[in-house]
């Protein structure tokens, strides 16, 4: 049985958080729900998440700040903003900060699922691209080093990408 996709869901509205987490858990997702930006950052530092679904307006640390920190600290994590309070300005700021998509509440589950699956696809593509570039870099760096030297570098790279 394939692993479920590890999803971090961040929203201060507890009823919404509980219900959306249940619905996504019934599908392909291993969901960790948290109700604040601060909890989200801490959770992401303790375990790896593949995608984060983040509310924009929250008490304390808001969604934009969560997005910036998650993208800075977790190279391959894709972040989706889900908000009932969307403006063009915040959509632009989020896009510049690397958001995968910016959805408005209420959002049909089918739409959300499609966006989550596309985000996961992009994550895999980015990882492969990074691996490929790293590999090219190693090869050009170690040539004309010995085969053992090359193997050692490749092993290091593989460990890093786990």
């Amino acid at each position: 049985m394939p692993d479920k996709i590890k999803l971090l869901v961040v929203d201060d509205e507890k009823q919404f958080l509980e219900t959306i987490s249940k619905r996504l858990s019934m599908r392909d997702f291993d969901v960790t729900p948290v109700s604040s930006g601060e909890e989200a950052i801490e959770a992401a530092r303790k375990q790896e998440f593949e995608i984060a679904l983040v509310d924009l307006k929250m008490p304390g640390m808001g969604g934009e700040e969560v997005l910036e920190i998650l993208k800075r600290e977790h190279k391959f994590m894709e972040v989706i903003i889900l908000t009932g309070y969307g403006t063009i300005d915040s959509a632009i700021r989020c896009t510049k900060a690397g958001v995968y998509n910016y959805l408005e509440k209420p959002c049909e589950l089918e739409t959300l699922l499609n966006v989550l699956r596309e985000a996961y696809q992009r994550r895999i593509q980015n990882k492969l691209k990074y691996k490929d570039e790293k590999l090219k870099g190693i090869i050009s760096e170690v040539m004309p080093a010995s085969p053992i030297e090359i193997l050692r570098k490749l092993k290091e790279m593989d460990r890093e990408l786990k």
């Binding site: 509205e13 009823q15 919404f16 219900t19 959306i20 249940k22 619905r23 019934m26 307006k57 929250m58 008490p59 304390g60 009932g84 309070y85 509440k105 209420p106 589950l109």
Partner: protein
């Protein structure tokens, strides 16, 4: 800009901020109902596929939908009451009712800053003949001003007292402030003058801010 224009502009801005905040909250309620209805669908689909129908769970979801509907209704009623505060320029106002409605308006801005509001009202209400929209704007602006000037987790106190010839409303922050919003500070005395009253700003040595609104029994 003339004082009249400033009052009109600040009044419109206040109206816009409050209605935007309420519409956001109502949208939240609709979103929750949407998800709960979706969860019900999910459980029914699972039952269709042969698994036992989880009746207790469905009942729980149905109750939660009912709770959210009531929550939405309450918000819409409050929004409607707020919208109607501009109907009459001068009327007899039950001050406790007005402040309780205002506390509902301020709920979201307070939550976003993790602030709390404690109230102290007299046992018997105070009636004033005044402009209900202007009064709510004055008190709400004081709350916004203290929030804007404070760190998160501020404790605010809202006190209503009888005063010779009228009433006194004190809005105070328990924790020291960090900065003052100049624009709002200059607008409030103009608004209070229009309401026939005045505002006193007290900043203690340890940085606590209190805004005291004195209002006459009847607007001139």
């Amino acid at each position: 800009m003339s004082e009249k224009d400033l009052l009109r502009e600040m009044g419109l801005a206040f109206f816009g901020r409050v209605t935007a905040s309420f519409s956001h909250e109502i949208n939240n309620v609709m979103t929750i109902i949407n998800e709960l209805a979706g969860l019900m669908d999910d459980l029914l689909r699972v039952a269709d596929q042969g698994r036992p129908l989880q009746l207790e769970r469905l009942k729980g979801i149905s109750e939660r939908i009912g709770t959210q509907v009531k929550r939405g209704e309450s918000m819409i009623k409050r929004l409607n009451r707020f919208a109607h505060t501009i109907d009459e320029a001068v009327k007899t106002i039950d001050m406790i009712d007005l402040l309780e409605d205002l506390i509902a308006l301020a709920e979201r801005p307070l939550t976003l800053r993790r602030a709390r509001l404690e109230t102290k009202f007299p046992e018997e209400t105070i009636f004033l003949i005044s402009n209900p929209f202007g009064l709510q704007q004055a008190v709400f602006s004081c709350i916004e001003l203290i929030l804007a000037a404070s760190y998160d987790n501020q404790l605010l106190r809202l006190i209503l007292e009888k005063q010779d010839g009228g009433a006194r409303i004190t809005i105070a922050g328990e924790d020291p402030i960090i900065k003052l919003d100049d624009i709002n500070l200059s607008f409030l005395p103009i608004l209070m003058e229009k309401l026939g009253g005045k505002i006193e700003v007290i900043l203690t040595d340890n940085g606590r801010l209190s805004l005291i609104l004195s209002l006459p029994y009847s607007i001139p």
